[in-house]
Point group: none
Chain length 205, copies 4
């Protein structure tokens, strides 16, 4: 039940270095963007030589993989309890939106970094590296939630898939907004979004 991210026999110190490097990678990605997130710059941020990163990760790609894993893990830990606390589908939907936007507020860099990688990391053949593994599961969860709400009569009629996508995309959009306007009032934003989707999922009068 403990340390589930450190798979093989990694020293405590090793794990610390990796965490530090991942944290710095996140910072650089968030503030400088994908194309400027070079090994050199990450190393500099970590006050460490480039080789240290190579030593611990082997490849830039693997650093980014770990960034993604770290963000997912952090987001999950943050979100799940909030969802569990809500009982009705409608409450759960509100908790999900508010939770995700809240996470944006408290972990701006995490989400920006994830987004940069999401947008830009590609396989050698040019295809996008990330897609289903994550988004699907997230969207799926919301979709299930919506379906359950429709079954129980809490929600009206609409395509659960499209609504789920819209929810996710609206939230991701907040992030984009945040890039240009760091002073954005996320609380108000969260409330309004909750309200928005509350109305959108309501049963026809």
């Amino acid at each position: 039940m403990r340390s589930d991210s450190s798979r093989p026999g990694r020293t405590f110190l090793e794990e610390a270095r990796r965490a530090q490097i991942v944290a710095c990678a996140i910072d650089v990605l968030a503030t400088e963007g994908y194309s400027r997130a070079t090994m050199a710059r990450i190393a500099e941020q970590a006050q460490v030589s480039k080789s240290v990163i190579v030593y611990h990760f082997g490849t830039k790609e693997k650093v980014f993989d770990q960034v993604v894993a770290e963000v997912f893990q952090t987001a999950t830990v943050d979100l799940v309890p909030r969802l569990d606390a809500a009982k009705t589908p409608r409450a759960k939907l509100g908790a999900y939106i508010a939770g995700r936007v809240g996470f944006l507020a408290s972990h701006r860099a995490h989400m920006l970094a994830l987004f940069e990688i999401w947008m830009n990391l590609r396989n050698e053949d040019g295809t996008l590296r990330m897609s289903e593994s994550d988004a699907e599961s997230t969207v799926d969860a919301v979709e299930q939630l919506l379906r359950a709400g429709q079954a129980s009569g809490d929600f009206g009629q609409f395509s659960p898939r499209v609504m789920a996508m819209a929810v996710r995309q609206a939230i991701d959009g907040v992030l984009l907004q945040l890039r240009h306007d760091p002073a954005l009032d996320l609380d108000e934003y969260a409330n309004e979004l909750v309200e928005l989707f509350d109305r959108a999922t309501r049963r026809r009068r």
Copy 2:
């Protein structure tokens, strides 16, 4: 009243070359992503030597500037008539959403290219190159629309700014979706989004 994009004394042939190069840049950006959209690859796509691009544009940056201009222009030409055709605020909102999603369907590469640039093009100091010039104007337009609808009693109470942002972001989100699932049924998507925001903007019963 015609050709308003070809400012100085540009030959017909030159304009053609420029258009061709811009088109190829759009293709490469859309299919290969920002970081692989190099002069070399764009030139290859255009079956032309790198120098040709330099000759006609001077700089990679200027090619991308032109890509942005081209997409904006195309999108505007596509959207404005649709908006004008709609009379009521509610109809206008629906026309806007449907129009924008429809444009995604007919000009996938255009929008993907724009997005890549949007996300990645930065000034030398690391700050993002694009932000207000466009997004603002777009969001502003929607915001005005929503305000007008509220004033006329067509829409209920909500923050026009947040709702406008949500609309825009939801649409942008479709694009992201499209990156991973090219077979996405955009018609259904458009209808559902129209419906979604139709409900979300409704007056409390």
Copy 3:
């Protein structure tokens, strides 16, 4: 006895264009230096397309050849009468120095351009392009002058060759000085140099 620089059957207009281009090349060389004296920049200075230069000269190298010829010609025309006017060896030496420095004052760009080419133009094998053709003849002339002065008892004992070189180099040095200090008082400089070499060539008391 007429037009001796326009060898083959060149139109008057042709000759004018060539002269214009050479003049512009001189300007660019003088103000921007050798490495920035590109075809493009020379053409721009002449308000003409690059191709015009190619058409009239065939090669950048040939433009520079013409620049050299032009400067030599102009300098010779300027200097010879002054020399002829002086009668004694000592007067001739003074006239030479004053004349050359005076030419620097009236034709700064000419001499700077010449100097840039002198310093930088090389053959394909890397060897310097210019050397004997000019310097030698100039230095030789001064050397003869000095020898004549020694023979007639006007000058004292010294190596005519070294003294001649020193004279030439001192004058060239003024040019270098001029590069950094355009406001240099060349009249004073000329007087002092004349005086200097007057003393240096004097017979031991």
Copy 4:
């Protein structure tokens, strides 16, 4: 008291590489000239990949900066003791001229390299990069020397500034001569120059 040029914590090996590269840069500058002194050619001369130079210096400009520093340093070390050994102003002047010309003989490449940079290195705006920082100090030193000699009655009346410039320029001129005639007898040249300026600075009979 040792190694005062290796400012930060530079390895012995690093310093060696840097020295090697600077030496090769000097060679290439001296034999091939400024415009052919490219990263590629310097690297080739050093039997090393271009990247090594970048790794150790970051920029071509910085390589050249180091070349300049190296030449200055070497020249100073060579010259100062000679000057100190001479006691009278007249002796000092002779020592200076002979010393500088001697240095040309023993460090031809050094001086040629410096000269190439001096002549050609420019700032982005096209203005010459080098000028006062060094030349001034050199010329100033000679000027002081001459003034002192005039004050003490060792020298006659003349403009110390112009005479100092003439001295410097005459010496620099030797270098130009050397470019075209590598077999030049510098000893004779030095003696004659010393003699020349000895006479030129003498008091009127």
